[in-house]
Symmetry: C2
Subunit: 174 residues, 2 copies
DNA sequence: TCCGATTAGATCGTACACGATGTATATAGA
DNA sequence: TCTATATACATCGTGTACGATCTAATCGGA
């Protein structure tokens, strides 16, 4: 009977039907509904991708950002934290914990660059490279319901969108 | 001199140049690079959207998911948590804290449905609706660098992608 | 009508994102 | 050379995501 911190069941004024609160069902003229927001489409597609990848990533024992980091490091080894951050669009505050976790799992090494002790160079271990190979099969092409050319085109459109957003945001920041 | 928990500066074996670790610069034949992943394009575009919206949302004093919830509730008031969750692609474990925060800020009310005490009905307050109006101007169309028809087409493509992913994931779960 | 199963939310632990801040190292200018 | 500034990374607090689990309310079948 007691709702842990839930709203009190005492003051019961059903809020649909008897209050003016519910009188705005249709967005007037130019008002955009949630389904029309491109940002929401991207946001929810990102959630969907995360869920679609979940099973494969669980087999690897990785999270999605961890997997991205492995892929990015496999492409080029010995990157600094900020170089990796540029590829992943993340900064050290987010990246450092991810990299520490992966190091602790034995998939990479982090070592200060002797030439500039401020920088940390990151390199995959043998286990890290094996993991990358093991995850090579993960391919959701079929799940996207897209044909290869559609897939490539959408990918390019989204990349262009992202880069435009970044440029516009940087410019407005000035 | 002491790097809070950073990698030890003692064992210094620069990992580029003298170890085989760095000998894999180009992905062989069919190997996909990070830039070719549609999931990564979506992931990074989502981050970019979050950053692009940041300034406008700060003026409202909201986070992105909080804003989405306000928009969704403005479209239809008195929704249950799970109905709202279907629209936002989130479940109660994520939604409840967001809704509690918005309630605490005075933008909505949460009340158990007398007809079924398991359900919680959510309705915007007057302040919540004013906030929705205030945020009406936020429009990143220009920042996307897309013409209206391109914008609409991309939006539809991403929605279709999302829905395909959800369907495929649900089917494989069976 | 009674009790097992289901449903709706809430809670908890873990892991991102990210602004703000801290610390060590490097660089530049007087 | 000495110090002010800049740079690279790490830490911290807040707020999502999300699987697992919990509780209360409802439903269903014998």
């Amino acid at each position: 009977m007691k709702l842990n911190d839930g709203p009190q069941t005492g003051s019961r004024v059903t809020s649909r039907g008897n209050s003016k609160a519910s009188q705005k069902p249709k967005p007037s003229a130019g008002e955009r509904r949630l389904g029309d927001f491109l940002c929401f489409a991207i946001y929810s597609a990102n959630l969907a991708f995360g869920r679609a990848y979940k099973k494969g990533l669980d087999e690897l024992g990785l999270t999605y950002p961890q997997w991205i980091a492995i892929v990015a490091l496999w492409e080029q080894d010995g990157q600094t934290v900020s170089e990796l951050g540029q590829k992943m669009f993340l900064e050290s505050n987010t990246l450092t914990p991810i990299l520490k976790k992966l190091e602790q799992m034995g998939y990479l090494r982090r070592q200060r660059d002797p030439a500039d002790e401020r920088q940390v160079r990151i390199s995959l271990t043998e286990a890290g490279r094996r993991l990358r190979e093991k995850g090579m099969h993960m391919n959701l092409m079929a799940s996207t319901g897209l044909k290869p050319d559609e897939f490539a085109r959408l990918q390019q459109n989204v990349v262009a969108l992202r880069d435009n957003l970044i440029k516009a945001t940087a410019e407005k920041a000035k």
